[in-house]
């Protein structure tokens, strides 16, 4: 089957992906015929109304769910299950409460056999990247929600994944913290030149961070349109204010919100 694919050897290729959840009375088609590609060092946002299956697509890319049809290739290799090359940040707080911040960040390295994870500079480097050096020895429960998500981000980055997956990582945060985190994430992604697939329903977040927005329609999740906002490629835009004052921003936001509204009322 993979020979039939276009010869794409780097980046992520999602081909005619489908997911059916079997139920006793009637099976639910969550995702149908979803295809898109993500070039290396690009950020792809999966955007859509709730119930459009965007998290299911992300979980299939992570290898946590098996596709019912279609396939996923990362850098030429088919995805068959979870692996450290595809690190993930979840919406809920997943910092392990029994480990300090530093041990949490070192966790991925440690379970992959790197017993010297602490002594080498990797952990400290990523702690510094997310601005948590001062809290390296704190317990997660002593941190705010935004700080815990920064721990999760540093932990996912520390194993140097080829692809970073994020499932509404800032969905549980208050508005002010969310903006700070979006700006921090933007600077980290640019600096580390990460390839990212991120699920969100926040239009502003999608426009700030995405090179590509895959807009999914709901029930079942299908690709409605793919947009290419210009803002993330422009290094001058690194804050919310700069994004909002860009002449193209208001129009794009209006169009996407109109699509969201249409999808939301369509059943």
């Amino acid at each position: 089957m993979s020979a039939a694919l276009p010869a794409l050897h780097s980046g992520l290729a999602v081909e005619r992906l489908g997911k059916i959840f079997p139920r006793r009375d009637a099976s639910v088609i969550a995702v149908e015929n979803v295809s898109f590609q993500v070039e290396p060092r690009q950020v792809c946002i999966l955007l859509g109304p709730s119930g459009c299956g965007k998290s299911t697509v992300l979980r299939m890319i992570a290898g946590l769910e098996h596709p019912s049809s279609g396939h996923i290739n990362l850098n030429g290799n088919p995805v068959t299950g979870p692996a450290r090359e595809r690190g993930m940040v979840f919406q809920g707080y997943t910092s392990f409460p029994w480990l300090t911040v530093r041990e949490n960040v070192a966790y991925g390295l440690r379970i992959n056999g790197d017993v010297n994870a602490m002594r080498e500079g990797t952990v400290d480097y990523y702690l510094d990247r997310v601005g948590l050096s001062r809290f390296a020895d704190a317990w997660p429960h002593q941190l705010s929600g935004g700080m815990r998500q920064r721990v999760a981000l540093a932990r996912a980055l520390a194993t140097s994944p080829q692809l970073l997956l994020m499932d509404e990582p800032f969905g549980a945060l208050d508005a002010e913290t969310r903006w700070q985190m979006q700006e921090l994430l933007l600077s980290v992604i640019r600096k580390e030149r990460m390839t990212v697939v991120m699920v969100t329903h926040d239009v502003e977040e999608a426009l700030l961070l995405g090179d590509q927005i895959v807009f999914l329609s709901s029930h079942p999740g299908r690709v409605r349109t793919i947009l290419h906002p210009p803002f993330k490629a422009d290094d001058a835009i690194c804050t919310r204010e700069a994004l909002r004052s860009h002449p193209d921003y208001a129009g794009m936001e209006r169009d996407i919100l109109a699509m969201m509204h249409e999808e939301g009322s369509r059943h």
Partner: protein
């Protein structure tokens, strides 16, 4: 219209300290309208009041006991006062070598509970972690949980004789099924996000078990052990009633033959005190093992 408003803020800085002083002086008076009652939902009690209330309950209990025991005029041998029980306790330790009975009982509890933990903890963890293992063991364990341990005494006597082995086996049977089920339930509470996080970081089944499932459920497991050790103490007397020559329970059965009610009560007191000490020891272990759960 605005003019009268503008000058008023100007003199405020000079007035402010006076206002602060006045409000400080008035604060007790200002606080008094808020009714502070003894019984209030979720109202925390200070450590000092907690200790005082705890001591008060014991003093009232001992006073009530003393009054009830001495009200009849002459001392009733079937209902001794706390004073004669404490005399009996002193006498037991000082003259009748009671410490060897206490040590025998303590040894039985510790060995039987240790063996139960060694079996139940790994089994409970595997059952909680893997539904297939749970599906295999659960019907068996659940059924055994409803069989009363003392019902096995005749069998154990025939199989294991009248020695320590039989008593240790009985004490083990009393707690092991509950330990397995409770530990399995605790392990099942491991958040699925934790497991999936570890999988996306490259965790194998073995490393997820050791670095996520076990540390995540360990506080619950230690707490379950603490509570089941208390149950183990409640089985002690039953284990030592039958064919025992030493132990706290055996002493109490000997005392019953000679109607030494004060000795029986002293035995009950010692079991209570030892149980409390075990509980405190477990709390200490919990505090040492889980620094991240302190002072939440």
């Amino acid at each position: 219209m605005l003019q009268p408003v503008v000058p008023t803020p100007a003199p405020e800085p000079t007035v402010a300290p006076a206002v602060a002083l006045v409000s400080e002086r008035q604060s007790p008076a200002a606080a008094s309208p808020v009714k502070r009652r003894w019984l209030e939902f979720k109202q925390p009690v200070s450590t000092r009041s907690k200790v005082l209330l705890g001591i008060a309950a014991w003093l009232l209990f001992l006073l009530g006991w003393h009054l009830a025991a001495t009200s009849g005029g002459e001392a009733n041998p079937l209902f001794p006062s706390p004073v004669s029980v404490s005399d009996a306790l002193w006498n037991l330790f000082a003259e009748r070598g009671f410490h060897s009975d206490v040590l025998a009982s303590l040894q039985r509890i510790l060995i039987s509970f240790g063996l139960a933990v060694v079996v139940a903890v790994p089994l409970g963890i595997l059952m909680g972690a893997f539904p297939a293992i749970e599906a295999f063991f659960s019907p068996l364990v659940s059924a055994f949980r409803y069989l009363p341990a003392p019902a096995f005494i005749p069998l154990l006597l025939m199989w294991l004789g009248t020695g320590d082995t039989q008593k240790i086996a009985l004490l083990m049977l009393g707690v092991i099924w509950f330990l397995v089920t409770l530990i399995c339930d605790t392990v099942k509470q491991t958040p699925v996000d934790f497991i999936e996080t570890s999988r996306t970081l490259g965790g194998s089944r073995r490393s997820i078990l050791w670095t996520v499932v076990v540390p995540s459920s360990l506080p619950g497991i230690v707490d379950t052990c603490r509570q089941m050790l208390a149950v183990s103490w409640t089985y002690l007397v039953i284990a030592e009633i039958v064919a025992a020559t030493d132990g706290i329970g055996a002493m109490m059965m000997r005392a019953r033959r000679f109607v030494h009610v004060d000795d029986i009560m002293a035995g009950i007191l010692i079991i209570g005190a030892l149980g409390l000490l075990c509980d405190l020891a477990f709390r200490g272990v919990y505090w040492l093992m889980f620094p991240y759960l302190r002072r939440r």
